[in-house]
């Protein structure tokens, strides 16, 4: 062995473990994956790494061929020859300006790290592909000598309960550590109960398990816990963080939204132990599965849970691309364990993912008919949206649809029987010649005095005198088609209250003459709506888009609407008559455009009108302007007419020629058979459409956009699209399955292909983290080169392969972990473990874990007998300090009355801009973005929650009364309280502390009974009037102490 090494090694504390790890003589070779790549990545890749970063550094250190290339007489790395490797010279350069990493990087390489690199170069500078980009390989079981198997070592045989234990033990032994003793049964049951159900064991469950002698008692407990409906709730809670689930949209306005049915689907999925590959496939592409069920479609809401905005003045496309990017980031963090979001603006600096790769993935999520802004003025569910009818609603819908079909048939019959008429007088609501603007008589004020003239003046309606239009003062008259016409400035409208208020089931016709001064890219000619993007365009409208007439009826643009657009542009600088007719069918074929009386050829832009076009503060029909939209600047309009029925082509042709409104002659006539049939049809459609409006809707993915191209966005900006990018997955990962479509379903097939290097490992890591607090990869959000390499790579691979072979059965893996000897260790750290492996990477003992925010609250409510166990449904609003919503946004939080106060925490209403404080103080995720690991911090505020939040004060009282009622003396009451919260039996010293406190409190409360009464009156739950107030209050204080006790707040 080279003497130089010995000298250097002895100087370095870092090598202690390496020496310990190697009972054989001499240090083991440096491991590139574990020791070198993380170092190079962290200090060098920023300039000498993947992607265009190398333009800064000139060469890449992540590729051996470049790192060892001769750059004019010197190579960065000369394998086996550190002395001639430029890297070494630069790392140790005496002049700071020449030294690497350069001073301006603010990064440093320590001498021990440099020495490590030197040794690695000396050993030939072997490279390896990044571990997580290579598919897992079946490792040899430690102790297994290969084909000539001599069986595992004696210690493995003795201690291990599962093959996974052998991997743990091997690392422990090589570090001169021993596994810890087995934990007692009660502690194990507490651990697994929280792990699998998020709740502690009950006293009888504890008793039962402690008494159970039979073989397999541990496994039976797991069976019970897996079968419990609480298991689905517990597992769902973790996934909600990853899915950035919340009950509001986020961003500043943060309006409520309905997404809880997706949360309930997640609970169901875990409850039935849905295989993980299917769990992913449904969420990513449920809508693309053949004959997709409602559940499969609902699962896709996963990709709509990102934040959304409706802030006034925002650019729709800016946010739409942001949503798509969020889907990519969430998928990569939650499922791939990658930091793909780094590549949104440029090539990834550390991992071999290009800027192009990011948009390749974005291309998969660009296929839905969505808007970047949700509606401010309406409650529309942003499209695409899935209907979730109740069974009764579904049945009713079938009946109503049948009625429509029959009514349509009767209309068809009546049409066939009738002779075509051109009765152009029928149901005329308005005829506005625009020949004058009449000074309006000011409306008198309430006290009868003459009012001041308003800004609007009258426009005569020849069809109904009292339904006159209003012209804003800014509007003027100009030469018309005949007489005068209205002329528009683009910022002010003419409005027509009481005219044209149509349901989507009402046939109607509207026409007018237009003078179009120039080729508008977009101009609002006529509409009955509140706004453009601020209301999802709800209503109906006639626009000019790229010079063409464009008519639409809209519930929420773009996914719930019909729109047709003339193929020909409208003529400029001459009068042209445009009429739109609508048959009430909710189909694009029922929306017709006529130009100068001739039916115009149109392109159908959208044909998916599902819901109402009314609502959301729509005030009136308007011409020439819309809120925050582009007005009809410089345009003129003449002879506007509005009919409450669909005009036939012949009628349109006639009306266009009419100089004045036809007189209402036909009104007295008996309604014809056709008229009756049409009226019946309208009523049938109205009934159907109204019923539809009451059905719950949830945002989902629904592939409908086939013509949208995805562009690479320079610096991630929507303003800088560069070139088109086809959907694709990063080349460095496993190949896209041949034959799979380049859509979300193909993406899911790629992810769940057994050859995929990441999917199974990431999920195994998540399950390991659930059990041990840390994953085998302690950076679950980053399996890339900046992440921490796995502590037990062979174990991770072994479990990943087992997982795939099991059919992606998560419960099977969890069961093995929870039954393992590793998991069953006590949590006390030995002195040697403290010295050698203080952070317990090697798992020489179990972790003592603080309960999560949810477990803490749910467990306390459960122990107190307060928890209302009811699965699913709309979110609930438990206690919360008053005013928190109001001071930020003016909205008011009204806590629920009754059971909503005591439901499990995953049902708590999650408002992103003001999440429940008692949960946040205990490190709950904010749910703005995907989170796969929560920190467990400690702050004084946590104590204040436990002591003073009415939720916990009330629970303490209920815990006290419950324990008192179960009988026994003070010792027994105290003992029960203790055991309910900690799952273990109190010892004498602990009992003495509690009993002393109870006695002191009892005396204090006897002296001040009103204090006792006050304390036991906190909360909405029923008062315990049958118990002595002072006694109850004193036990409540004891309960409060127990709630703050570390053993109650953690798993042992």
């Amino acid at each position: 062995m080279d003497a130089r090494y010995l000298v250097r090694l002895s100087a370095m504390a870092f090598f202690n473990l390496i020496l310990a790890l190697s009972p054989q003589v001499g240090p083991p070779p440096v491991d590139f994956t574990r020791d070198i790549r993380p170092l190079l990545s962290d200090r060098c890749f920023l300039c000498h790494g993947p992607g265009d970063t190398a333009e800064v550094g000139g060469f890449r250190l992540d590729l051996r061929e470049e790192a060892t290339e001769d750059f004019g007489g010197a190579a960065p790395i000369v394998p086996g020859d550190p002395a001639n490797s430029d890297v070494m010279a630069r790392l140790r350069h005496k002049r700071a300006r020449r030294r690497m990493p350069p001073p301006e990087s603010k990064l440093e390489m320590s001498e021990s790290e440099i020495a490590l690199i030197e040794r690695w170069i000396q050993e030939g500078a072997p490279y390896a592909e990044h571990w997580s980009f290579v598919a897992p390989r079946r490792p040899q079981l430690p102790g297994d000598q290969g084909p000539a198997d001599q069986g595992p070592s004696a210690q493995v045989d003795e201690w291990a309960r599962d093959p996974l234990d052998a991997f743990i033990l091997a690392r422990l032994e090589s570090a001169d550590l021993k596994p810890s003793a087995e934990v007692d049964r009660a502690a194990w049951l507490r651990r697994v109960s929280y792990a699998l159900t998020g709740l502690p064991p009950t006293l009888s469950e504890l008793d039962h398990f402690l008494a159970a002698q039979e073989e397999g008692a541990y496994g039976k407990e797991l069976d019970r816990l897996f079968a419990s409906p609480r298991h689905g709730e517990r597992m769902a809670t973790q996934w909600l963080d990853a899915a950035r689930y919340a009950d509001t949209y986020g961003y500043q306005s943060d309006v409520d939204r309905t997404v809880w049915p997706w949360r309930d689907w997640v609970i169901d999925s875990f409850s039935v132990n849905q295989p993980y590959d299917e769990f992913l496939t449904w969420q990513l592409a449920g809508d693309l599965l053949p004959n997709a069920t409602r559940e499969q479609q609902l699962a896709t809401a996963f990709n709509r849970l990102h934040r959304q905005t409706n802030e006034g003045g925002s650019t729709e496309e800016e946010y739409r691309v942001e949503y798509v990017a969020d889907r990519v980031s969430t998928l990569s963090t939650a499922v791939l364990g990658l930091t793909m979001e780094c590549a949104q603006c440029h090539d990834h600096k550390f991992d071999p993912f290009s800027h192009e790769d990011f948009y390749g993935l974005a291309g998969f999520f660009d296929d839905i008919d969505e808007s970047g802004l949700y509606s401010h003025f309406t409650q529309s569910v942003p499209t695409p949206a899935l209907d979730l009818p109740t069974p009764e609603q579904e049945q009713r819908a079938l009946e109503l649809e049948e009625a429509v079909v029959q009514a349509e048939a009767r209309v068809a019959q009546a049409l066939a029987d009738s002779t075509p008429t051109t009765d152009i007088a029928g149901q005329l609501q308005g005829w506005f010649p625009f020949d004058s603007i009449d000074a309006a008589t000011p409306e008198p004020t309430e006290d009868g005095k003459p009012g001041t003239p308003g800004p609007k003046e009258r426009l005569r309606n020849l069809a109904q005198e009292d339904k006159h239009g209003l012209a804003h003062r800014e509007l003027s008259l100009a030469e018309g088609f005949q007489g005068q016409a209205l002329s528009f400035g683009g910022d002010e409208p003419a409005t027509f209250p009481g005219v044209g208020e149509f349901h989507r089931s009402d046939p109607f016709s509207i026409g007018l003459r237009l003078w179009v001064p120039r080729n508008f890219e977009r101009a609002v000619v006529l509409h009955r709506s509140r706004a453009w993007t601020d209301s999802g365009s709800r209503g109906y409208e006639l626009l000019i888009e790229e010079g063409r007439a464009s008519a639409a009826l809209i519930h929420f643009w773009p996914g719930d609407a019909v729109r047709v657009q003339t193929k020909q542009a409208l003529p400029l600088e001459r009068w042209v008559q445009v009429t739109l007719t609508w048959d009430g069918s909710s189909r694009a074929s029922g929306l017709k455009l006529y130009v100068d009386g001739q039916l115009a050829a149109v392109d159908v832009v959208r044909d998916h009108l599902q819901r109402s076009i009314l609502g959301g503060d729509i005030k009136h029909l308007s011409l020439g302007e819309r809120f925050r939209d582009k007005g009809f600047k410089g345009g003129r309009a003449d002879d506007l007419f509005v009919y409450g029925r669909e005009l036939s082509a012949a009628e349109v042709a006639r009306v266009v020629l009419e100089p004045a409104p036809p007189s209402a002659t036909a009104l007295d006539a008996e309604p014809s058979e056709l008229q009756t049939a049409l009226e019946d049809l309208r009523a049938a459609r109205r009934a159907r459409d109204d019923a539809r409006g009451g059905v719950l809707q949830v945002m989902t993915m629904s592939a409908s956009i086939t013509d949208r191209s995805t562009y690479l966005l320079e610096r991630g900006s929507y303003l800088s699209p560069s070139h088109e990018v086809e959907p694709h997955t990063p080349a460095v990962l496993s190949p896209f399955p041949p034959g799979a479509n380049k859509d979300r379903l193909g993406l899911a097939q790629w992810l769940t292909d057994p050859a995929h290097p990441l999917t199974a490992r990431v999920e195994i890591n998540r399950l390991w983290q659930l059990a041990f607090g840390n994953g085998l990869v302690s950076t679950p959000e980053d399996f890339g080169s900046q992440g921490t390499p796995p502590s037990h790579p062979e174990l991770l691979d072994s479990l990943a392969l087992d997982f795939i072979e099991s059919g992606w059965d998560r419960q099977a893996i969890l069961r093995r972990i929870l039954l393992s000897a590793t998991y069953r260790q006590v949590s006390t750290q030995s002195a040697s473990a403290h010295e050698i492996d203080p952070d317990n990477h090697l798992l020489s003992h179990a972790p003592r874990k603080r309960l999560s925010a949810e477990m803490l609250r749910d467990g306390v409510l459960f122990s107190a007998g307060l928890l209302v166990e009811k699965i699913g449904g709309p979110p609930v609003k438990p206690y919360q300090p008053a005013g928190l919503w109001q001071e930020k946004s003016g909205k008011v939080y009204h806590p629920d009355k009754g059971e909503g106060l005591w439901r499990r925490s995953l049902y708590t209403f999650w408002k992103r801009t003001s999440p429940p404080p008692s949960m946040m103080i205990f490190d709950a995720a904010k749910r703005d973005v995907c989170i796969v690991k929560r920190a467990a911090t400690s702050s004084p505020l946590q104590a204040l929650v436990l002591w003073n939040d009415p939720q916990y004060v009330e629970a303490a009282r209920k815990l006290a009364s419950r324990s008192m009622r179960s009988g026994g003396d003070a010792r027994q009451i105290a003992g029960q309280l203790f055991r309910r919260l900690t799952s273990r039996v109190a010892d004498e010293e602990e009992l003495a502390i509690l009993l002393q406190l109870q006695q002191e409190q009892h005396s204090a409360f006897l002296a001040e009974p009103e204090q006792a009464q006050a304390l036991i009156s906190v909360g909405e739950s029923a008062l315990d009037t049958d118990l002595d107030p002072s006694e109850l209050a004193s036990w409540t204080v004891v309960s409060q102490v127990m709630l703050s006790f570390d053993a109650s707040l953690s798993t042992p």
């Binding site: 574990r34 020791d35 946004s889 103080i921 502390i993 204090q1011 009156s1017």
Partner: protein, 472 residues
């Protein structure tokens, strides 16, 4: 708990112990040790700080620089004329005014005068601020990126438009820890009942930093910190007995669990907060003179003036960072009337705070910052009339002032063009502002980093420079 880097108050489980651990954790630890040493950029502060505390008077909604500080006679002369394309240069507008048929220039309808020795222009809307201009460092060339409130406020407060990043105060808490053992090191005060553009928890959140670094809101009313007050029926005696019992339980439990020992300290601190917070919030001991300075509003809890006073009391107790929010500056229409109200609510107390800090000897090492998330347009959103106009969001320039903390007093820095549209001289990007503020606190903004998702994140992202010209 013996960790020398541990900060009392909100325990900062510093990385030092972990570094030591990592040092003996072998090769796997070798990189870890390097990372951790680099995590905070070494020992903090990086250099001698000029400021120990910060109070940020955030004017939410975007105050109009044109009507307050950035005097533009050209706009008044050319009132009503169309915004020249040579000025706008096709830059994007919001959807609120971007579709207007015209963009008429709107001069300020307020009188401007020069004040102090610095001859700084201040409008008649801010008479009290005008009196202290020689204490202020006014920057008229702050620019940002986002054009809508949410991303712009998020950017100003976290250095990024995206959600999930730590706020300025959280970075300080993480980097410097607390100077006070009884109060949160990062306090948030919001003017009550203002309305306007909504605020959100995220703005004072810890992002990916540990949750203990998040801002703690101090609220007007009975429970100044959430859950601060004992429940009915629990008095000081009961609480003390509870604490004693908990201490005994935990001392015993500590034999098997280190976390139990940490609880003792955690609970002791919580109990201390229960007295220290009401103390600081109780202004009844303030002399009348205080209210003469801040205005009578300061007697009404939750007003801007009361919050300024409360901020001073927090700073006196060495709270590191106080973040005030005052909503209502988003004047898209009816600006002249609305801005008067805003100024009346804030002018006197803002100036009073600076004066008060100075006379108490605190201004020297306290940084006061006043400003919003962006500026406003020189053209009118909506109709321009003889006495009314509105202004839309304008990210390309805004005015902000700072005082104390080693900033150069009596300074007016940066120039905009004649239209207060583009910056003509000495631009100060939000990242530059952050870098400069951190610098005054003794922090090299490039070295205050936190590794998250494999990347070293900074408040200043990958940009920012210290604006030396602003430093005293």
């Amino acid at each position: 708990m013996n960790d020398p880097n541990k900060i009392s108050g909100f325990p900062n489980q510093s990385t030092r112990r972990q570094v030591l651990r990592a040092a003996c954790a072998g090769l796997a630890g070798a990189t870890l040790a390097g990372q951790l040493a680099a995590d905070k950029g070494g020992l903090l502060p990086h250099h001698t700080p000029r400021a120990k505390r910060v109070i940020y008077l955030f004017q939410s909604g975007g105050p109009s620089q044109i009507d307050l500080f950035d005097h533009k006679p050209v706009l008044q002369q050319r009132n009503g004329e169309e915004l020249p394309e040579s000025v706008r240069r096709g830059q994007r507008l919001t959807g609120m005014s971007g579709n207007q048929s015209s963009l008429p220039l709107a001069g300020a309808q307020f009188k401007f005068a020069q004040h102090g020795e610095s001859r700084a222009w201040v409008s008649e809307l801010l008479p009290e601020t005008a009196k202290i201009v020689d204490k202020l460092c006014i920057v008229r060339s702050v620019h940002t990126q986002a054009i809508n409130h949410d991303p712009a406020v998020t950017f100003l407060q976290t250095g990024s438009e995206r959600a999930g990043r730590p706020s300025f105060g959280a970075w300080l808490s993480y980097g410097l820890g607390s100077r006070n053992s009884d109060l949160p090191e990062f306090c948030v005060l919001i003017t009550k009942d203002k309305g306007g553009q909504p605020l959100y928890q995220r703005l004072w959140g810890a992002g990916f930093l540990p949750a203990r670094h998040q801002g703690v809101q101090l609220r007007a009313g009975a429970d100044p910190v959430l859950y601060l007050n004992n429940p009915p029926g629990v008095d000081g005696g009961t609480r003390q007995r509870m604490l004693d019992s908990l201490r005994r339980l935990h001392e015993k439990e500590g034999n098997s669990a280190v976390s139990a020992l940490d609880r003792i300290e955690q609970y002791r601190l919580a109990a201390r907060m229960q007295t220290s917070v009401p103390d600081v919030a109780d202004v009844s001991s303030e002399p009348d003179e205080t209210f003469e300075l801040y205005g009578e509003d300061a007697r009404i809890p939750g007003t801007y003036a009361a919050n300024c006073l409360l901020a001073r009391r927090l700073l006196e107790r060495d709270v590191r960072f106080v973040q005030l929010y005052h909503q209502g500056w988003d004047q898209h229409g009816g600006l002249p009337a609305a801005i008067r109200v805003q100024c009346k609510e804030t002018d006197r107390a803002s100036a009073a705070l600076v004066i008060d800090l100075e006379r108490r000897g605190l201004l020297e090492d306290t940084l006061v910052v006043w400003g919003g998330e962006f500026g406003r347009t020189c053209y009118s959103q909506g109709k321009l009339t003889s006495n009314d106009y509105g202004r839309d969001h304008h990210p390309r320039c805004s005015t902000l002032w700072m005082a104390g903390g080693g900033m150069k007093p009596g300074t007016v820095y940066g120039e905009t063009d004649d239209f207060s549209y583009n910056i003509a001289e000495n631009p100060v990007h939000v990242h530059d502002l952050h870098a400069t503020l951190l610098h005054q606190l003794g922090i090299d903004h490039e070295r205050l980093v936190f590794k998250h998702q494999g990347r070293r994140y900074r408040l200043t992202d990958v940009a920012g420079r210290v604006v030396e010209d602003l430093l005293a």
